[in-house]
């Protein structure tokens, strides 16, 4: 299954990368995730997912410029590529397809 489907957290991370456009690096992804989901995303977990996404060929990474913060260490920036975009769209389509066949009263009984 690996490589074809996205896990739930993977999808979130990938979406965040897409949302951050050119500023997606591990700490920023963490912060953004926390802001939107309210979950306390652990750096180690995010790091592992970023690594896995790159391994699956959904994102590309490159090292940025050295800065005075971070003890002089460079950031690794992630950018979503076409395969990644396709994977996101695919996931969205699957969901939308499923949403469309659910009758309204099942999800929202108050209607």
């Amino acid at each position: 299954m690996k490589g074809t489907n996205l896990g739930e957290f993977e999808e979130l991370v990938l979406l965040t990368i897409a949302a951050l456009i050119n500023d997606a690096y591990s700490v920023a992804v963490c912060d953004e995730l926390k802001k939107h989901t309210g979950r306390d995303a652990k750096l180690g977990v995010v790091h592992a997912v970023l690594n896995r996404l790159e391994e699956k060929g959904l994102v590309q990474s490159s090292l940025g410029e050295a800065t005075s913060t971070r003890g002089g260490k460079r950031k690794r920036f992630y950018v979503i590529n076409n395969t990644g975009k396709a994977a996101l769209l695919n996931a969205k389509e699957i969901r939308d397809g499923l949403w469309n066949i659910i009758p309204d009263f099942v999800i929202n009984p108050s209607l």
Binding site: S26, K42, R70, G71, G72
Partner: protein, 876 residues
């Protein structure tokens, strides 16, 4: 990979170990990103949560990041070989050796002295551990040892045990494969045809060859000792008795009994705790009713040695329980003694417990530990020298390290470089030390340990190399680590980085330790030698001057006495059963009126000339009288301790005379009281002692000689002896020499520790010299400036020396009381009669020591203080 040098490091840093750990485990391509993330979080946490919490979270995160995808794949070559540039290390090491000839020589000499002591100990340990290895079943063989606790006095631990127990083990005890009983043979001679030869033999039963690995070259191992009157000879003994004739099935005569030779065994290996020339069958003994009864007596624990062979799956603990049960039931029949038995593995017989009544050689393992401890002190001392000098000199090498680091050397490589250098020097020292070792070996063997040969076997040589490498690593590690810490920016920017001197305290501590060791050794030497001198010159309560003791070796005392008395030089002659003052003793149980109250007393059989010849002092009564005839053995002389034991003669000593005592079923009458004297050695307290008139039991002649030409006198004694006894060579020892022989171990010990003291002092002096030279060199400019400003030469010498002198004095302040306490409280307190430790000796040692140190310190500091400041300062 290198951390950039931050000129203004922030106040708070993540924990160093965590950073290092991360760097160690993380894949290089992921490392920078990870480090950056963690740093960012750390900085954030620093602001929100405080430094401690931030550091804690950082460490935790580092641990959490260790996941399969971040881990560095294991490297097939070990880390320390990865970037090794051994050629370069060797080259720079060689150059630095040559450039600093003085320091190199000091280091190599110091290390080689330390190493040679180590080599000696390695060879010695190797010998000690070689004993009894040739027995194929060695791991299954145990000996039964005995603890005998009488109602009074300390328990005595014996290597021997009761023959009865051996027999019980043979018949009733489960969990034993085989049992061999050994018993010392009579010291009598063996006669073959007309030749008589003394032969050192053991009684042994048929299981002997099953348990021990002593192969027979002729005869059948299974049956050789099963028949009565069988004897097995070693090849050497067989050759001695029969020459080239085949010894098998020949007959030899011992004590009027004929023995048939049923086997000839290969000669006994040197490394065997059992040493004998012949084995006679144990069953011969049991055929003799009188001896057989003695063998069946539980209390008789001093003649028989029992060795057990356990099954491969044997349980020692279970067996011990069975033995304890036997002891308990047998002890129930004893009144005043308790006998318990223990199992001792064969491999710890030679090197193990210190037991009385050993069957052969043995060395207490405590001796080994003491020797190892002493050698360690010498080796460490040499290592300290190296460490000290290297740290001190690291200033000179700091530039080199700086350049190496700039060119990309990591810390591990710098450490490795200096450790390699130290190992190299240690190996050079090994070459020198092997030469020293050969000399030391000759000296050590000359001290007379008969249990070691100190041969160089491959194992020993490999151990030598290992020791040298260990010493190299040990002595090189500290300087290497301190050099590797150098910050290249600092050393390359401005010359001497002062942070290098931060090891000053360490260096001082090392010198301090060296001098403490040396002082302890030298003081011990002096104390032990004083004791030895005290022992051999102490008045024992009788005179030994001009007296020669001659063992009769089975000859009739009266006849030999008569012949020897005719020599013109002899001006006194007596007979005795044993020789007093040498630590050997004969004993018996003596009773007074109460048949239940017996006491152990030392005993000696003497004739009427013995007491006057030795100048024993009678405090009451008279000497024993010579009464030719049969009922002459009732007279005894007792010492004051014996009277005290029975509460006799408290009022008037004269009343004691005529009192009857019983011993060994005979009644004796006290005719005289001897002033207390030293019957045993000075290690033992004076115990109840009695002399009985028994010239018929004499085994020694005591001859007082009046002569100035000893060799001629001895030649005449020899001639007289030879006319009486053609078999045994004359043994005639001066009483004084025999007493010295008793305390020989002390003399050996003082020589060994004395040589160690010499070596450690030598090493420490080398080290001190090196440090003084170094200090003097580095402070040359300071001294010159002071001199220009008007300091006197004396004040400059004082300035340069005071640090060292303070160190030495504090070493003395530790070493002297420590050694004093050790000897006074622990060692000498076990010796009944010993010389007090003289404070004068201690002060003498200290003065000698400080004098030597002053000489060494002065040799350089005075030169520096006298130097012309103009010349020194001109160079600026």
């Amino acid at each position: 990979m290198k951390r950039p040098i931050d000129p203004n490091p922030p106040a708070h840093q993540p924990p160093r170990w965590a950073q290092q750990f991360l760097r160690w485990y993380c894949r290089p391509e992921l490392l920078e990103d990870l480090q950056g993330d963690l740093n960012e979080y750390f900085e954030r946490n620093l602001l929100t949560k405080g430094a401690a919490k931030a550091r804690w979270i950082y460490s935790l995160d580092v641990l959490k990041f260790a996941r399969s995808y971040t881990l560095r794949p294991p490297n097939p070559t070990p880390y320390f070989l990865q970037n090794i540039m051994i050629g370069s290390y060797l080259k720079t090491s060689g150059r630095s050796l040559v450039r600093n000839k003085l320091f190199s020589v000091i280091n190599i000499i110091g290390l080689s002295i330390g190493l040679s002591v180590g080599l000696l100990v390695i060879a010695l340990i190797h010998d000690l551990l070689s004993y009894d290895r040739f027995h194929q079943k060695r791991d299954r063989i145990y000996r039964i040892t005995t603890t005998q606790q009488s109602s009074q006095g300390a328990p005595e631990q014996l290597a021997s045990t009761s023959a009865k127990l051996g027999t019980i083990c043979q018949q009733q005890v489960a969990g034993i494969d085989d049992v061999v009983l050994l018993r010392r043979g009579t010291t009598g001679d063996v006669q073959v045809g007309q030749t008589r030869l003394p032969l050192n033999s053991l009684w042994a039963n048929g299981s002997f060859f099953n348990i021990f690995t002593f192969p027979l070259s002729e005869g059948n191992e299974a049956t050789a000792l099963t028949e009565p009157n069988s004897i097995v000879l070693t090849q050497k003994a067989a050759h001695k008795l029969f020459g080239d004739v085949d010894a098998l099935n020949q007959t030899v005569r011992m004590d009027s009994t004929d023995f048939r030779v049923t086997g000839v065994m290969k000669d006994i290996p040197f490394f065997s705790h059992l040493q004998f020339e012949a084995l006679t069958s144990y069953i011969t003994l049991t055929r003799n009713p009188a001896i057989n009864q003695a063998l069946g007596t539980w209390k008789n624990v001093s003649d028989t040695y029992v060795y057990l062979l356990l099954p491969a799956t044997g349980d020692v603990r279970k067996l011990q329980v069975s033995l304890d049960k036997i002891s308990e039931s047998e002890n129930a029949r004893l009144k005043q003694t308790r006998i318990t038995t223990h199992l001792q593995p064969l491999m710890s017989i030679f090197l193990g417990q210190d037991l009385h009544n050993e069957i052969g050689h043995s060395v207490p393992s405590s001796v080994l530990w003491v020797i190892i401890g002493l050698a360690m002190a010498a080796i460490l001392s040499a290592c300290f020298n190296y460490t000290n000098l290297s740290i001190a000199r690291s200033l000179r090498r700091s530039r080199e390290v700086g350049v190496r680091k700039v060119l990309g050397a990591v810390r591990g490589q710098v450490v490795l470089q200096f450790v390699v250098e130290a190992v190299l020097i240690a190996l050079l020292a090994l070459v020198v030390s092997v030469g020293l070792f050969l000399g030391l070996r000759t000296a050590f063997l000359a001290l007379g340990p008969s249990f070691a040969v100190l041969d160089l076997s491959p194992v020993v040589i490999i151990s030598f190399m290992v020791l040298a490498i260990l010493v190299g690593v040990l002595s090189g590690l500290l300087p290497a680590v301190s050099l590797a810490r150098i910050n290249p920016l600092q050393v390359l920017k401005n010359a001497p980085a002062l942070s290098l001197f931060r090891h000053v305290n360490l260096r001082k501590a090392l010198i301090f330790l060296q001098y403490t060791f040396s002082l302890c050794f030298i003081v011990s030497t002096v104390i032990i030698y004083t004791q030895y001198d005290f022992f051999i010159s102490k008045q024992l309560g009788f005179t030994t001057e001009h007296i020669v003791n001659i063992p009769l070796q089975g000859n009739p005392g009266d006849r030999v006495k008569k012949e020897i008395a005719q020599l013109p030089e002899v001006n006194g002659i007596s007979q005795s059963q044993m020789v007093t003052g040498l630590g050997t003793s004969l004993g018996t149980y003596v009773k007074y009126v109460d048949p239940q109250d017996s006491t152990f007393a030392n005993i000696n059989g003497i004739d009427e000339q013995y007491v006057p010849l030795h100048g024993y002092q009678l405090v009451a009564g008279r000497n024993v009288l010579s009464k030719p005839g049969s009922d002459n053995s009732g007279e005894i002389l007792v010492n004051q301790q014996l009277l005290k034991r029975f509460n006799l003669g408290t009022g008037n000593l004269q009343q004691v005379l005529g009192t009857r005592l019983t011993a060994d079923g005979e009644t004796y009458q006290i005719v005289g009281v001897l002033k207390d004297f030293h019957y045993g050695s000075l290690y033992q307290k004076i115990e109840p002692t009695l002399f009985r008139y028994a010239p018929q039991d004499a085994t020694y002649l005591n001859v007082r000689l009046q002569t100035t030409d000893w060799p001629a006198t001895f030649a005449r004694l020899q001639a007289t002896w030879h006319s009486l006894d053609r078999v045994h060579p004359l043994i005639a020892n001066l009483y004084q020499d025999e007493i010295q022989q008793v305390y020989q171990p002390l003399s050996i010990m003082s020589k060994v520790i004395g040589s160690l003291a010499f070596l450690t002092i030598f090493i420490a002096s080398l080290g001190l010299f090196g440090m003084v030279v170094f200090t003097a060199e580095t402070r040359l400019k300071e001294v010159s400036v002071r001199k220009v400003l008007g300091a006197s030469e004396f004040s400059l010498v004082y300035l340069l020396s005071k640090g060292f002198l303070g160190l030495l004095l504090s070493a003395a302040a530790l070493a002297l009381p420590l050694t004093y306490w050790l000897f006074d409280q622990i060692i000498l307190s076990q010796i009944a009669y010993h010389a007090p430790i003289s404070v004068f000796d201690l002060v003498g040692c200290l003065v000698f020591f400080m004098g030597l140190a002053l000489l060494i310190i002065g040799s350089r500091t005075i030169g520096v203080a006298r130097s012309n400041p103009a010349q020194v300062l001109k160079a600026e």
